[in-house]
């Protein structure tokens, strides 16, 4: 494994974020961001120490897995990439030379430098740490607020859209996966009481990059979890209010019953994708949390009622993308 990849994995809990630059025979150039995790046979991230000790021979340790599925392959899809250079005769000529050079004369494991091509460079032109949606939590009545919570951390676990602007406005071009540690020993935990329904937020560092050399464009990409700002203040963002979806399990085919004193929790990579997870420099990016056990919703019910209800938006609660509360 290349040392630069091993270093990136160590900083991001086994994940590496990459930009794929695809150049068509007609010169059209597109960018798509992808995330890959280096995992062992049981799907757990291979430790940085194990990768370091293995040196170049990391193949026996594990394999690459992607968010698209365990297969790890990526299909370049027009709905998922952003075009940064339109096709033209001149661009096609350059592309043909670059493709030939890349095929014939790779320069080594750490890079491919076409002799007649160009080298893409990038500079950070702005950065800011802002609240970003990491999940949601819903409750009805009968909650034991001392033991009902939404937990995020102690490493991040979110996929965040990447934005590309080559002069015609922002487009989503794939995503990055952020999984760095917070430096805190405990998970970020938001205690929840009765009749709650909000999206939960935490601070992430977003950066605006300017690219130049082969193609010129701007890219908004999330860099790391910062916890600055730290968490949700209920009611601070009216758009975050989603409690109107609760207290209606009686009309939902996917409800489940629980009883006084019981607890139930779930962590999953199947929680919902929020179309608007953050907004920065005019780019509105989506987010999705939970590819590991670092995102958890946890309920405990008191003895105020004889039965309690949860329900899924699109399946039973073990498999649903969203979990609502309350019979209604």
């Amino acid at each position: 494994m290349a040392s630069v990849v091993a270093a990136a994995l160590a900083k991001n809990n086994g994940w590496v974020n990459l930009d794929l630059m695809e150049i068509g025979a007609n010169g059209e150039t597109a960018i798509q961001s992808i995330a890959r995790q280096f995992t062992d046979g049981s799907g757990q991230a291979v430790s940085a120490a194990a990768i370091q000790s293995a040196g170049a021979n990391t193949s026996p340790l594990g394999h690459w897995a992607g968010e698209e599925g365990q297969q790890g392959s990526t299909t370049v899809n027009p709905s998922e990439y952003a075009v940064v250079r339109q096709p033209s005769a001149a661009a096609a000529k350059l592309a043909a030379a670059r493709i030939r050079d890349a095929t014939v004369s790779p320069t080594g494991a750490d890079g491919v430098t076409p002799s007649s091509g160009c080298i893409e460079e990038a500079t950070v032109v702005a950065q800011t740490s802002i609240d970003t949606v990491v999940g949601e939590m819903h409750t009805a009545n009968g909650i034991d607020s001392a033991h009902t919570y939404f937990a995020y951390g102690n490493t991040a676990d979110s996929s965040l859209d990447v934005g590309i602007d080559s002069g015609s406005g922002w487009n989503v071009s794939g995503s990055v996966h952020i999984s760095n540690g917070s430096g805190h020993t405990n998970a970020e935990t938001w205690p929840i009481g009765d009749q709650f329904g909000y999206k939960m937020r935490s601070g992430f560092l977003h950066q605006k990059w300017q690219y130049y050399g082969c193609a010129t464009y701007y890219e908004v990409k999330t860099s790391k979890w910062t916890l600055n700002p730290d968490g949700l203040v209920p009611g601070s963002e009216p758009a975050d209010y989603v409690h109107n979806l609760d207290n209606n399990c009686k009309n939902n085919p996917y409800y489940a019953r629980f009883y006084p004193g019981q607890s139930w929790s779930r962590s999953s990579n199947a929680f919902t994708h929020f179309t608007l997870g953050f907004s920065v420099w005019g780019f509105e990016g989506g987010t999705q949390s939970g590819a590991s056990t670092y995102v958890q919703i946890h309920y405990k019910w008191n003895s105020a009622s004889s039965v309690y209800y949860l329900c899924g938006n699109d399946d039973y609660i073990a498999n649903a993308h969203r979990v609502y509360a309350g019979y209604g």
């Binding site: 630059m21 392959s73 489940a256 607890s263 779930r266 609660i317």
Partner: protein, 173 residues
């Protein structure tokens, strides 16, 4: 537009990246749920039982039918015992329920057939056999398909507490 084969990784540092397709030999087609699902279940007395599901749904993603054989707890402590199990071909709304009995529409898990591209609900009967807090971390489902025997693990964790403490957490708390 035909996009050609030049792939340049232009992240923080330029690097090539080879997409590897991992092998997945020897696995059958039973799938459960992603991530973890945990239950914390207070019980009044040693010997009390509770029905646990979620609902816990397992699906046959293959084109051949499969036959369930048995389910066993994974990493179980002493003091918690799986006393019984059954399947429902039409999932009910059982998260967890005090007491355990097999309903009229319940079928023995051993020998239950799961048709291709269908799913069934598994319900577990759990008993606390001594005072205190006792848990398991997951369950392993054994099944047969096409002449082969397979197993599938799900992180369905159960913790039982007897007598009931102020808080009976899940194994994943």
């Amino acid at each position: 537009v035909l996009l050609a084969a030049l792939v340049v990784a232009a992240a923080a540092a330029a690097t090539t990246f080879f997409l590897v397709r991992p092998g997945n030999p020897g696995h059958g087609s039973l799938v459960g749920f992603e991530g973890t699902m945990g239950f914390g279940l207070p019980l009044k007395h040693v010997g009390d039982r509770v029905s646990v599901s979620g609902p816990y749904l397992v699906k046959n993603n293959g084109s051949q039918p499969l036959v369930l054989d048995r389910v066993v707890p994974v990493d179980a402590q002493s003091g918690i015992v799986l006393r019984g199990d059954y399947v429902l071909y039409r999932p009910d709304h059982l998260g967890s329920w005090p007491g355990y009995r097999v309903p009229q529409n319940g079928h023995p898990l051993h020998g239950a057939t799961v048709a291709p591209h269908t799913r069934v609900e598994i319900v577990l009967g759990v008993e606390v056999t001594k005072r205190g807090r006792h848990s398991w971390q997951g369950v392993r489902v054994f099944y047969r398909q096409g002449g082969q025997t397979y197993s599938h693990d799900d992180h369905l964790g159960v913790e039982v507490c007897a007598p009931p403490p102020k808080n009976c957490p899940t194994p994943f708390d």
